[in-house]
């Protein structure tokens, strides 16, 4: 555990300094709406990627309906702010909690079983959610629902930071080790006394919660929320962030969220070539780094080399 906390404080301080600089630039009008929006998109995608990383990368459960939980958060938070006039923070938390509840309802029956039931269940769930919102007049049906812009850099940044902290702290504890062991070998994990269903459901619910938070930030960043924003392709987009980063690497998920958001933002003006170039980038990365950008490594692993006193890894060369 100790070896990671060495990089923890420098990274946290760097993040806060980065936040302050950006916030300063926004307040002095030196950073325009376009670039601010790009940063907000990056942060939302980081929340989505990191929360799905917990489910797929850490616990090894193949969920392909993350956009469904995002939709729940997006709509529920919009109802809270637009219909009930409650503060945005309350809306974000309600969005997360209802998404978590949805996660619990989908997770308990499908995670009890071994195998690929979860993929099918989450895929179906996301479609059902989309179709439900499409058919509810209260939230505007296919025409969507008007939402005021409330998402700003500060909200997005701090919810992103909370997401990362919660998931890092979970992962680097006995609970995270239990979840990892399920990914590695569920039968052995069970045989070592781990309540595998419990940990799968917990990871899934935490993942759904933060997907809901991301959905709330997302819907309040546009002026409208539409069912079509949360289709299967959205789930695939999020999945790609995790796979591209390297399954099991949190820093990889973050890096690929930054990278791919930038790529698709730059290509925004060329919609016809955008999908082609986006796909090419993915193919190239997968050809040259099939294990993902980071493999299973973390950024902090690179800090270890020069922050530890050295000579600790002597076991390395005795094993071939």
């Amino acid at each position: 555990m100790k070896r990671h906390s060495k990089a923890f404080w420098p990274l946290l301080i760097a993040a806060l300094v980065f936040y302050a600089i950006v916030q300063g630039l926004i307040m002095t009008d030196m950073l325009g709406a376009y670039h601010t929006n790009t940063l907000i998109f990056i942060a939302i995608n980081i929340i989505l990627a990191v929360s799905l990383h917990l489910v797929i990368g850490i616990t090894g459960q193949f969920s392909i309906g993350h956009a469904g939980f995002m939709a729940v958060g997006a709509y529920l938070s919009a109802i809270v702010t637009m219909k009930f006039d409650l503060p945005f923070v309350v809306a974000i938390i309600v969005g997360g909690l209802v998404a978590a509840l949805a996660g619990l309802i989908v997770g308990i029956p499908s995670l009890r079983l071994r195998g690929d039931y979860l993929a099918i269940a989450t895929l179906g769930f996301a479609e059902i959610i989309r179709i439900i919102f499409l058919n509810i007049d209260y939230v505007g049906g296919a025409a969507g629902m008007q939402v005021s812009k409330m998402t700003d850099w500060t909200y997005t940044f701090f919810f992103m930071l909370i997401t990362i902290l919660v998931i890092v702290n979970f992962t680097r504890s006995r609970h995270g080790i239990a979840a990892l062991s399920i990914r590695e070998d569920e039968i052995a994990s069970d045989a070592m006394g781990i309540n595998t269903t419990y940990y799968k459901v917990v990871a899934f619910v935490i993942g759904a919660f933060f997907a809901g938070v991301a959905g709330a930030l997302f819907s309040h960043n546009f002026y409208i929320v539409l069912p079509s924003q949360f289709g299967f392709l959205k789930s695939v987009d999020i999945l790609i962030l995790v796979v591209l980063g390297g399954l099991g690497s949190l820093s990889g998920a973050i890096i690929s969220a930054i990278f791919l958001t930038l790529v698709s933002t730059f290509l925004q003006d060329y919609p016809e070539t955008r999908m082609i170039i986006y796909s090419l980038v993915l193919i190239i990365v997968m050809l040259y780094r099939p294990q993902g950008l980071m493999g299973t490594k973390e950024i902090t692993d690179y800090f270890r080399g020069w922050t530890s006193k050295g000579g600790k890894d002597n076991g390395k060369d005795t094993i071939t």
Binding site: R174, I177, D185, D190, T196, D313
Partner: protein
Amino acid sequence: MEKTPLLEVKQAGIQFGGLKAVQNLNLVLYPGELVGLIGPNGAGKTTSFNLLTGVYVPTEGDVVFQGKRINGIAPYKVTQSGMSRTFQNIRLFRDMTVLDNVKVAYHALAKHTMLASILRLPSHFAGEKKMEEDAIEFLKIFRLDRYKDELAKNLPYGQQRRLEIARALAANPKLLLLDEPAAGMNPQETHDLMELIAFIRKKFDLTILLIEHDMNLVMGVCERIYVLDHGQLLAEGPPEVIRNDPKVIEAYLGEEVTE
């Protein structure tokens, strides 16, 4: 040995579709015993372990452990109640470190909550520190501490077997089930393994049920032996009786012909 049995299997059996993989299984283990379970390939030895540990629920009969009927109980609960196992095909957490492999087994013994870990409360740090120290001490017993930061998959084969046994013991069992621990080992490694088994048995005050394909090996270390063939008990008794049992000889000869 008129003590109460630690484990009692009564007429247990399991059926997969039409196949009776194990039937009428009767086993009794007393505290402190080292008992062998042998039989040709496909006899139902591994399936028997799966019946005992809750991986399969017996379709007939009962498994009684420490006086409690445990059939139908989830494997993790069986482990927490004091029965732990290794697997015929090593099942380590391959992409986790040696230390973390042992920590998984310690997990159930630690108390700090998930909320404490997420909020990094003092109980998290205390709990994790104790787990770490205990796990390292534990690895030292098995002379695996120098590998602690290696990924399990990078260990040499013999050490992987050793780690799997260490991990099973870290769960603090009273009964240890070993499924062909010597499989794939050379004679030297097998010899070391047998010494290890004798050592842990004393050190941890264990009862051991050992599956072994190689009859000679089991004869050397076990006090009593159960012989399984075609899912049914063929014989039971001390090594010298088993060695000369014509039915056992036939079962093993039959296998050599078919192999």
